[in-house]
Amino acid sequence: MSLVHAVRSETTKITSTRLWWVLALIMVGYVGICAGGLGAIFGGLGTNTNGPVLPDAQIPLLIYGFATSVGYVFPVLFGALAVTSEFRFQSLTPTFLATPRRGVVLAAKLITLFLAGAGFGVLALLASMGAGAAVLAGFGIDPLLSDPATWAFVGRSLLAMALWAAIGVGLGTLVPSQVAAIVIVLAFTQFVEPLLRLGSGITDWSAQIGQFLPGSASDALVGSSIYTAMSGGGGVALEWWQGGLVLAAIAAVATLIGFATSWRRDVS
């Protein structure tokens, strides 16, 4: 009962400030430009006599995959900020006064942000599929919108975005400092992880480890992304459900450690 109340409360928290739509707006613009731009490049290559790099049937999902492959940083940020702003503005005091059982509050945050992440996923897919499909159709490539495989991809993408927001919650409890959390998210997702993924592909044994990097796991879950396409599709990758489990495990471990440390600390 109190968990339902707490979820309602957390939902009001994330919808009653401007953060969600500012992040969503940037995400939609970013994802839309990437998907539309790459759609135009592939469409142009396809009509070029030098020959297409990829078969037409693989292009749509690759382009729609921008929703997660570049959009995933936004639910992570949103999840992390939902936690760190409580520390920053000392609003944990009224939160814990209204719901003294702190585990309930954190569980409610995970549930709420998981759903909000899926909501970000809907917007990101609208951007990537809207821009991508329009451009592809313009070049005469079938956007595959009626293909069941496309809709299975959509479902897996929503799950990935939801899990990324949950990872953000975990990160926020691990690193309650708002500035530090933002720096870690941006540095890791935009710089450290891409380098690690590139580097891990050099040898077989490092590739085995590299597939457990969160970004790789996310791509495995979604099934199609610009990274996997760039590595020629020959690199090792987890099954889609394994990728999902890796993301869920990262979120769970981070949140549990955060709960045991910062979340249970004295609030003053």
């Binding site: 309602r8 409360s9 009001t12 609003s91 009224p94 609030v267 003053s268």
Partner: protein
């Protein structure tokens, strides 16, 4: 009408490393009256209240509301309303949404936020983002949060700090009315004079230990009563009073007589045929006792 339960502190202690912020505090706050929780800044008031509300884990001892610890209360916001010193607001959220967040968490009716804003006089600013609020408005919003669940117990940390004179008068009347309804009201302050007209009982701590508790009047332990008196012929007045065996000192606006009652000094002047221009009994005992209890450095 929700009725108050007693607040019980029993051997409450908080150690921060080697430093004891609060040591072995034991006292009970009764319903039906306003209790002032006094002490200089850094005496451990806020830490004590945070332990009472389950936000800080005590090193030992306990605090409860009628025998139930805060974390174990069935409906905390409807039992205890608390406002703590820190401005715990997300600046980008409106006052109504700020309260709605916690009303929902506590399962309170949808009308609770607006009713609370109405009570503290912020109804006209409900949709304004809290970041633009003045200090006085934030204090009122903190109080609105405390009143959200119409609780029988109020715990307010420095509620008068930052209010304008009109606001001070308003909160004074509000707290007195709440106590008269049978609720338990505990307010902290570092200034006795700030709450002197509001509280019935005082609990005074200094360096984390209890130094005094009892009715406000019991605080006046000083034996020295002083009378301030004035006349056009001030020198002759002083001479007469000194002649009667009193110790007299000169003030800018009259003469100060130690250990005297206003009536006796008045009679002395009357017998000597000196018309007085001013006569008053000085009541400095409360503040002085307070400062003595908490130590002079605490006054700063």
């Amino acid at each position: 009408m929700p009725t108050g339960v007693p607040i019980e502190f029993s051997g409450l202690t908080k150690q921060f490393g080697q430093v004891a912020a609060v040591s072995d505090l034991s006292f009970t706050v009764e319903p039906g009256q306003v209790t002032g929780f006094l002490g200089p800044n850094g005496a451990g008031k806020t830490t004590t209240l945070r332990m009472l509300l389950g936000l800080v884990q005590p090193s030992s001892g306990s605090a409860s509301f009628g025998g139930t610890a805060y974390a174990q209360l069935d409906s905390p916001l409807s039992t205890v309303g608390a406002s703590l010193e820190a401005a715990s607001f997300h600046p980008g959220r409106s006052a109504r949404n700020h309260l709605a967040v916690y009303a929902q968490a506590a399962g309170l009716p949808k009308t609770a936020p607006d009713a609370a804003l109405e009570k503290v006089g912020l109804a006209g600013y409900a949709n304004r983002r809290v970041g633009g609020y003045s200090l006085g408005m934030r204090q009122r919003l903190g109080l609105a949060f405390a009143l959200l669940g119409d609780p029988g117990v109020l715990v307010l940390d420095e509620p008068i700090n930052g209010l304008d004179p009109e606001g001070i008068k308003w909160i004074r009347l509000l707290l007195r009315a709440m106590a008269a309804e049978g609720r338990t009201v505990l307010i902290s302050s570092h200034l006795l004079s700030e709450v002197q007209q509001t509280v019935d009982e005082v609990v005074i701590i200094s360096h984390g230990t209890l130094v005094h508790r009892g009715e406000l009047s019991t605080l006046d332990t000083s034996d020295t009563k002083q009378v301030q008196v004035n006349a056009d012929d001030r020198d002759r007045l002083a001479e007469i009073i000194r002649g009667a065996g009193y110790t007299v000192s000169n003030l800018r606006s009259g003469v100060l007589v130690d250990n005297a009652e206003a009536g006796e000094i008045g009679r002395l002047a009357f017998d000597a045929g000196i018309p007085l221009t001013g006569l008053s009994q000085k009541r400095t005992g409360l503040e002085e006792s307070f400062l003595t209890l908490v130590g002079e450095e605490g006054a700063l």
